[in-house]
């Protein structure tokens, strides 16, 4: 697998024993080893997407997961967020959806969005 922790993109080989992580070669740093282990046991990704916002400068508010989410749930979370609408004003870092889909991760606003009078 290719490491995605930094732009080097090391080519790594992971050894599994009975489906369990048993070691990695090809990594250049400990972060790579950690990534390799997580990637085979519990792969996780950040999610960035948008929700709708009413009363703001734009009709959309960009949001980001506060932490990585289980990879297999990312699409479900994105689909869920497509149907979320919030009201301006919003501050960067405001929690938009707490504990999304019970995964223990909050979805937060990526930016401020002031209320504008139409």
């Amino acid at each position: 697998m290719n490491c995605i922790m930094c732009p080097m993109g090391c080519e790594m080989t992971v050894t599994l024993e009975n489906g369990r992580f048993a070691g990695v070669t090809g990594n250049s740093c400990p972060r790579g080893a950690k990534y390799a282990e997580t990637e085979v046991t519990d792969p996780r990704r950040m999610l960035t997407t948008t929700v709708r916002i009413k009363g703001g400068l734009l009709p959309l508010l960009p949001v980001v997961s506060a932490e990585v989410l289980p990879k297999g749930k990312v699409a479900d979370c994105a689909a869920y967020l497509r149907n979320v609408t919030v009201e301006a004003p919003v501050q960067a870092g405001d929690v938009i959806v707490p504990d999304i889909l019970g995964l223990g991760v909050d979805i937060v606003a990526s930016r401020d969005m002031e209320k504008v009078n139409d």
């Binding site: 995605i4 950040m46 999610l47 997407t49 400068l57 734009l58 960009p62 980001v64 990312v74």
Partner: protein, 419 residues
Amino acid sequence: MELYDVIIIGGGPGGLSAAYSAYRNGAKKILVIERDRELGGILQQCIHNGFGLHHFKEELTGPGYAGRCIALIQDKPEIRALTDTMVLSVSKDKKVTAVNPEKGLFTVEGKTVILTMGCRERTRGAIRTAGERPAGVFTAGAAQRMVNMEGYLPGKKIVILGSGDIGLIMARRMSLEGCKVQAVCEICPYSNGLTRNMVQCLYDFDIPLYLSHTILKIKGRDRVEGVTVAKVDEKMQPVPGTEFDIECDTLLLSVGLIPENELSMAAGVEIAPFTNGPRVDQRRQTNLPGIYAAGNVVHVHDLVDFVSDEAEIAGKFAALEAQGSLTPAVNTVEVSPVNGIRTCVPQVLHLPEGGEPVRLFMRAGAPDRKVTLEVKCGGEVLVKKMLPVVKPSEMVTLDIPAAKTALMHDKITVGLQSK
């Protein structure tokens, strides 16, 4: 006519970083002119994360990074920002004419001007694709703005030409919006994007990547109905007999970025070959006295962090010049990229007595591993740096201490040495 210490054209990360740096270096009257409805530039539509690790030591989204830059200049009486304002011309004597709905047409004068207009995307015309001219062909960036800021989709079934980071990011973005990304085609035998984007944006979504493939024809008269794809040979010419069709209603183009230098050229700024941006010195001054340039308008960057770094250099020296405290240069040194380095900014150094710290921003011509970057003057190696990996898509930086620059004369070369 209102006189400013520094007038900055473009309120993206480059312009904002330049403004903040000019402020920190003592400029008292700074004007930022932005054409969009808000500050932040293209970052406002780049909602993905991965920005800011170098500059803010923290991983941020595009709007997050823009927000940080905006916060730095907000509430500072020294800095004024105009949005929804288009600069129509910049003159050699640093008069800037602009227009907006509130003030109409107006001209302001700067003791110095910093050009931070950024870059724009290459379009279909530049790649000469056969076919009709149907709706459904968009640059990746135009589509990104519609999806992330305006609330519309460019289509439902997507093919992307170009595997640079913008193309890859849009592949993921469209997938997350419930669209079907049919394929990403790349004319080069390798992807031009970061490995992490290949993994997160393509592999995670099972999107096929066709390397050494290009789009020969766009099908459909009124709306895109599909594309004809073919393999290309080493000379990037289509191989007959390898054509196949992919059905889609949308083609997104991610086929390169060009520095946006219409204003610079009209002002008389000299444009450098290969980078297609102003030829600048280490202070980011152009050939026109008092006119500086930084960021993607000088050369296309892959990391916004480096745009900020470079803009801070321009902001600092523009501020010093405006205050009359710029150390005069006594030594002119040409910088030539050689041996595997394709471009280097700055292209020239104007060094004061005793030298000055210089940061070089370079791009390699081809991917390589375990190489040494060397700065030479008159056959002597002045500075070197080991690089575990170089890629054309990733900019390389090198800091040269003032003492070393004091040793330079006439011309230096920057090049790679393989082990």
